[in-house]
Symmetry: D2
Subunit: 376 residues, 4 copies
């Protein structure tokens, strides 16, 4: 059981919303530090309410860190969305979007490209990298504060996102722990930090470009990536602010598995060790097969017809073009050859996740798949 | 692929409701007969919309019956609840109850004990069993018709139930195909038909008393059971009208598995063979271990606290008193010994099913369990 | 603004459940007393989460009571269902039933008729009415405690209900504040307390028999009513324990209106005044037209077909047999005479409430109506 | 009752999706023409499932058109989203977004600015306006076809939108009939067609720029607007293709009112009359006060705290800065001055719509308001 002395570990709560009873909805924040210099890491879990396994990963991180001296600081924010975790619709958790308006809980973080360009203009030739980093971080923090204090207010998802981002913005490394529906483990890695693929122990890696779509990893790395490129172009020299951000998909939603969570914690500790944050040499990345794909080749397969579905291939399995991926039963045609329709792979691919229900309307995302993938 | 000649197999549809677009919601009815005398069997599936595997079982029954001559008639009604199948709430199917008012789709069938007593009073000493059977069946059918034609109308779930029951009432044997949340295969058997436990190939059997709680199996056997007992008491001789009804739980909801469905179809064919409905000797009940329990000893285990749950024992597993059945993580206490709470077995038991989500409020049904069980 | 000194008014909270974040869900309890002898009143609101207007009534009761000396004690429990209030499904509140399993939040209170009979048997000829009352109340409280401490646990709705009932059981008068969907004000009154109809200022009164269907008013009065009748039969003399319970329907759900709430508070104060609980003579029942109906004549009108509905009569309006009550549009028949279907009144009636949505499936409760009603 | 001869009015259905029962979900298409030359108008309703009043408007349009000779053709598509209309969550319709993934049903239409530029490049100096119009329309239709026939498929909302847009693309005038939550009547008008404000009889007009956000009106006018501007810049002369598109908000969702729908139909007929489509002079725009606002000044007011809300101002009411717009009750503070919080107007404004529920979390859209508005 965790037994970290209070001088190493502190716990606090922040209020991110109020419910209809008028009560504050709080998120716990755990901070660990040994007052040794080093990076600051921010790790959150369960921004999508049904994706709960990250909470077990954080539990195991705390267990492991009780016997590890660290350089820098680790901030752990489990169950960071107290609204989404608590919306039940039937037996399952309706955790992916605000039930009032459909807003995805993971699309309201702040990024303003114009602000980066304008900040870059203000940088002086002889500013140190550390000075630039500090000033830029302040400018982001201020922009978020301004958004949050608008007189007309903000939507719930955006408020929640921005309050978390205020903390994440103070960190050098941001890990956002998610799950797929029924899913193998995979990770989203910005292209500029491609080598991080070897620092985690995760079999499937998606490399993403410098494009903001609203998520925390993008909101974290897009400004720094853009700033680096802008300053490089302007001053014709290299800049590296050392900020990295990743979305880790820790298997399937609606599942808690303590054993698997321990492995995921070990994977993260291996990465942190590579970043010099662990004083011991207890953890390192696994020797393993890793497969990569560019984001544009990570494809969604929709079904053209509705019915009852058997998923015939498992997440992570290598599938050949033409293989049957799903069989769909139509209950009006049980007496003829249209009773069962096969969905086949349009090319060689690896399914990474599939839809969690056996009943689908047409237009449902059956699978998300690696195509044109490569060994790392 | 099914290839049953049209003189053996007929297909029709009945309208069970209208949706908000004003359109009829239809249920398919498949009927197979070789015009040989024998019992009539009624088999329906998916009255609970997320419990879809029974549709695959019906598909496989049709496949198998294409090469089997039968005595009597088999009526197959897949996906008998077109409303419940199509209510999505997030990625899952909200199939257990009417989303408008919470009414369980499986509690609105008709049974009127007073009607049975009054019918029994009308029976004459020298009426034949067949005469009684026919007259009683008509009286039930008429009572259902009366309910359906009430000038003030009826609720949706009840209308749906009664329209299906109108067909089921014509049968001697009624099988209602269900699934549990995450579940092993099990069957509900009325105590008076206990020997049916050996005729199916299902490992877990729950014996239920003559008590009506609204479901189709009860609505089918309660009147006949009550009639038999009343007439026996009155005329001091045995009556057996040969009507049986069962609820079969074919594994877990939100799952389609064709291979498993084929096994379930074989189990049903074994039962029908025992009832003399298959002219070949191709199917018979499996030799296997069967475990029984009385309904009163089939217990629900609720959790006293909310949190994130790992289910530590699998459906069907034999668990000893004191064994850990679930571990519940509390994200506010990750820094102390209350981080994980264990839920232990209060006695020796077999979990038959567990809740399908990893997030629970207090008062959630974690498990349903056999206690005081026995070998059959 | 309320300004009741702390020696008159106390506030506390009880925890009624834990959510999936592992946190306690609390209900506020306000108690007012001037330490003068008199009855104890228990008033709760919003057991159905979308029925919020009772909270405003409680707010106004507190405002009014700040300048009223009282005899006895008044316990006010606003928003007594912190789960149901906070389930959003789209823009509305899914407050009527547990979203996990469809259990109506207002059907899990305790009543055990056998327990009453057995208690009645234990009463001695010369026990005083006060002694009997106290002993009976203890026996109910103990039965509730026993249920709540079952080793296998209880469902969420039942736990919530029983924790509230533990407090309500200490009271002589219980008022459960509800709302209809789109509704006029009405009240449920047990037949034995029929004269209470004149003590409230509510235009529509439903008289209900001694039959338990799970609600708090029934759970409160059924035991006392049954006890009175049992003891009267046994000892051939009158018993009156002075316990009364009512469900008050304060207009429409999903509506907060401070002005209307003040009128509702005045209506309740008039009743409490009649019970001798207000030392001033400031409040009394209104002179008004009151209409009553027996529960059996309070009928639900279901629609036989689905479509888009205009509600043509308003709650409270007197409708003649044959009058058009609703018009249902079918979008597939806009080019012919079936475009609009009329639903007509089957007899003279007063609609008390109607369904709140303009889109209905067949089998939807369009209206609930007084038939065979009478002036009081 | 409508009595349009079949040579004037035709009815057909298109399938827009399949449900989980494997059945087609159809949308009715009504087409009226007297084979006289003139524009083609496309009018759809209920893309958001709870916004049903447009269906009544279409009903009344058909009634009126039965006695009106027209120039051109009118295509009427009521209840164009058979999925969204039929998702109930509690008593209300969850009609705004796909319940599986939160996708707004009104954001998946097609627009590709690059395609417009590339088409504009292909236009020859001496192409006639009619030639350009026809070729451009074909290029849009082809782009939609290509999207719909992608081998990996498309999401349900997008498929639905594109199938409707295939028809709308053939029209010169597109009217998309919506409703607000609790709302006054208002209309979205592209800035280039500002004068249309005087052609409808709708009191509140929002002028929107040439910016695509996914809705049908934008998807219709953005390409033509962009093409006009591009060609004007290139050839230095005026182009006007006569294509207009509007979103009409016909009052509140979850309401059917035949009388109001007739007025809305008359408003649309007035507009069509101005466009020369009615051979009679029976209809013309009303003389009335009209208020306009630029889209940037149409502001959303979010609440900063959760609780029970009374909406103190009505849609359409003129409100002064500082006026109380909402009162929020907090049930934990009924004994102190924080019991009721007032939300005040930050400036002079007209609330156009408000949230339909009395229970709100923080971050809920309380009102949408005209600010900086002006008389037309």
């Amino acid at each position: 059981m965790t037994d970290i002395p209070k001088n190493r570990l502190s716990k606090s709560h922040i209020s991110v919303a109020q419910n209809a009873s008028g009560r504050s909805l709080n998120v716990p924040i755990y901070r660990i530090s040994d007052n040794a210099p080093g990076p600051r890491v921010y790790i959150q879990s369960s921004i999508h309410g049904a994706e709960v396994q990250g909470n077990v990963v954080i539990y195991h991180l705390l267990q492991a860190l009780s016997s590890q001296k660290i350089n820098g600081e680790i901030i752990l924010v489990p169950n960071c969305n107290p609204v989404g975790t608590n919306i039940k619709a039937g037996e399952y958790t309706l955790g992916r979007f605000d039930p009032v308006n459909g807003t995805n809980w993971n699309r309201g973080y702040h990024y303003d490209e114009e602000q980066v360009f304008s900040f870059a203009d203000s940088v002086q030739e002889n500013d140190t990298q550390e000075q630039i980093k500090q000033a830029f971080r302040q400018s982001i923090a201020k922009a978020i504060d301004n958004k949050l204090s608008q007189p007309w207010g903000l939507g719930l998802a955006q408020q929640l996102n921005l309050r978390l981002q205020q903390i994440a913005t103070t960190a050098d490394i941001v890990l956002d722990l998610h799950n797929g529906p029924v899913s193998t483990r995979h990770i989203y890695i910005p292209e500029y930090a491609k080598s991080a693929a070897y620092e985690f122990s995760i079999p499937h890696c998606i490399f993403i470009p410098n494009k903001f779509a609203g998520a925390l990893d993008e909101a974290t790395f897009c400004p720094w990536w853009t700033l680096q490129e802008t300053l490089q172009a302007r001053f014709s020299r290299e800049f590296d602010f050392g900020v990295q951000a990743f979305t880790l998909e820790m298997g399937s939603q609606e599942v808690i598995q303590f054993d698997e969570g321990e492995k995921d914690a070990v994977s993260i500790l291996g990465y942190l060790s590579q970043k010099g944050m662990l004083q011991s040499g207890d953890y390192k990345p696994a020797s393993m097969r890793r497969i990569g794909v560019m984001l544009k080749d990570y494809r969604t397969m929709f079904t053209d017809f509705g019915g009852m579905v058997e998923y015939c291939v498992a997440p992570g399995q290598h599938v050949k073009a033409g293989d049957t991926m799903a069989r769909i039963l139509n209950i009006d045609d049980l007496d003829n050859h249209k009773a069962v329709q096969n969905v086949v792979a349009p090319c060689d691919l690896i399914p990474i996740l599939h839809f969690p229900s056996a009943s689908v309307l047409s237009g449902t995302q059956l699978y998300k798949c690696f195509t044109e993938y490569f060994e790392l």
